[in-house]
Symmetry: C2
Subunit: 359 residues, 2 copies
């Protein structure tokens, strides 16, 4: 009898972007926000650190749930805070997917969904997107029809494009749930909250997930939340660890959410830099997808992306080289390119200088 579950033994494991622990890197590879969070966050965490760390946190994160409920125009029992949005995505697979249930997600997209399906031992299928990142309904509709969970990052990664509400409504599985992963939603031209949940026919069929890692500059504290019908949230609560969010993260999350203006100012700066980055990439001969996120998917007509990634890395500039096999419209069935996080203006200048010397 093998000790480790065969599903786990055979899987490669999700590999997150490189996280060099020493300084000196221009880090444009994991879509972190280059600006610091609201100073109120550090104040709140410091207060909590000098408070009663010997006692367990509030298992339901009541204050945080109330704040989110108010901002997203739902009742608190529609909200579940988590140890990063990652935890909510994991909880969703564990709450809704048995071995014979199907997990579906667009492709190319965020590859973590596939790892989560493998860990859960559930069936999984990619929904191949068109070359322009739009939906091919002949491919998508029959998969959606059979899916228990559809994971959908909107905006998408690595492309940064956003899909319309009309598309989203068509992607709700008739016998399952659509998970709208809004990790990058705050960077879009039209900032949505959870309005879709009040659309007719949505009911218990959509879960909205959010993270404080990107727009709120808080990747370090691991804070995310999901919003859905209380029946779904109650089931997810049974699956989560009792005290999934620590007292420090809960305190920092509340302070960050209460200073939304700080976040919005950072988002504005990033959007401005994003426009400059895409203009410059175009002048350097890159193709790119108009981005609604804090990163840009850049490709060159003649490829050579890995070489560019490696040359940049040699100069201590990290971007994300990504490759997606089994993409029939790409040369050799392989789509690859560079996903570049929108950093500060000096960071982007540094990148553009280096690219100027390379291409």
């Amino acid at each position: 009898m093998p000790l480790i579950r065969p599903d786990i033994d055979r899987m490669a494991g999700y590999v997150p972007g490189e996280q060099p622990q020493e300084s000196g890197w221009t880090k444009l590879n994991t879509n972190e926000n280059p600006y610091p969070p609201s100073p109120k966050v550090a104040e709140a965490i410091t207060r909590a650190a000098n408070g009663r760390l010997n006692v367990y946190p509030d298992p339901l994160g009541t204050q945080v749930r109330r704040e989110i409920a108010e901002q997203f125009n739902v009742e608190p029992d529609w909200v579940i805070p988590a140890n990063g949005s990652d935890e909510n995505l994991t909880l969703i697979t564990r709450t809704f997917c048995d071995a014979d249930d199907l997990i579906a997600y667009p492709y190319p997209s965020y590859i973590l969904y596939e790892s989560l399906a493998e860990i859960q031992g559930a069936r999984h299928e990619r929904i191949l997107l068109n070359a322009d990142w739009s939906w091919n309904w002949d491919i998508a509709s029959p998969i959606i029809e059979r899916a228990k969970v559809v994971f959908l990052p909107n905006p998408n990664s690595p492309s940064g494009n956003i899909w319309s509400d009309g598309d989203l409504l068509r992607l709700i599985p008739p016998n399952g749930v659509l998970v709208l992963d809004g990790a990058y939603a705050d960077f879009a031209d039209t900032r949505t909250k959870a309005e879709i949940l009040s659309r007719p026919g949505v009911g218990e069929r959509v879960i909205v997930t959010r993270t404080l890692s990107k727009s709120y500059s808080l990747a370090g504290i691991r804070s995310g939340f999901a919003i859905a019908h209380p029946n779904l949230i109650a089931a997810m609560r049974k699956v989560k660890d009792s005290y999934n969010c620590d007292s420090l993260t809960l305190a920092g999350t509340l302070a960050a959410l209460q200073d939304e203006d700080w976040m919005l100012a950072n988002v504005d700066r990033i959007r401005t830099t994003r426009a400059r980055l895409t203009d410059s990439l175009k002048q350097l001969g890159f193709n790119f997808v108009p981005s609604q996120s804090n990163f840009v998917w850049a490709t060159r007509p003649n490829g050579g992306h890995r070489e560019i990634y490696e040359s940049l890395k040699a100069q201590k500039i990290l971007v994300r080289y990504m490759r997606f096999p089994e993409v029939p419209y790409a040369p050799g069935n392989l789509l690859d390119g560079l996903r570049i996080t929108v950093g500060t203006d000096p960071e982007i200048d540094c990148l553009l200088d280096a690219l100027n010397g390379l291409v």
Copy 2:
């Protein structure tokens, strides 16, 4: 098709001890340490909070792993830090247990193991202990023989007793792993680390788990770790979320571990108070198990435990009323009693005063 997995839908869900969020309670119900953590913890967290929270934490918690490895006399690849010991217990079920695998645990004991098995959809069996909390090998051995994972809290809860190394070695399943949950290990007369891992025949068959919630007074930051053969740790790493420990918790954990003396001083105070508590309980007519932990399992010959719990609660004193059905040696097959956390001396005085008025 039901939306929620039938396993999840039918389970009640683990209910942690009450966590009143307002002050004024004498809280002796969830085995928190009444003393504050080392002041170096708040310093380290404050530094981290004023550092770079916009970037992701080190996904492997390298510095924490090094410190644990040194203290437990293993190499760093034997260590996995987690978002509380709870997360490691969850990771273990997800790494090792498919639906037809058996999860076993002593009974009466920590009931969370049963919830974890239910969530994972794995088979599970209780191993009934003798009335004096020793092992009945006629019951235990055949279950161990078939088990994939055996969870064992040592010291046990709610009893607080500790089992010998001889017992532990007999509890290693021949085709699985024994999980030694050492949540309360620092409170025992003989403080062990992970010595058992170097015993002949143990190899990849034992996982030692620890938490900083109890002895280190850090329930609020959610920090635990597991120690095992690197093959097991590598598999668990594939299952965990990439950034399962946040930067604040990692900083606080490192500072706490580096101030072991502070923890040991608190443990000494608790052990002294524990002796006084058990003496007084005896005088009040309670039976109790000699405790190697930071709590005491107290029962009365004629029962009435729930009433005592409720009368104490009415006086804003919380202890844990626990009931274990299907215990054949108990009257009406129901074992119940009070699990009392060893608080500060004034807290225990307050409890004893109240009990004096009740019994």
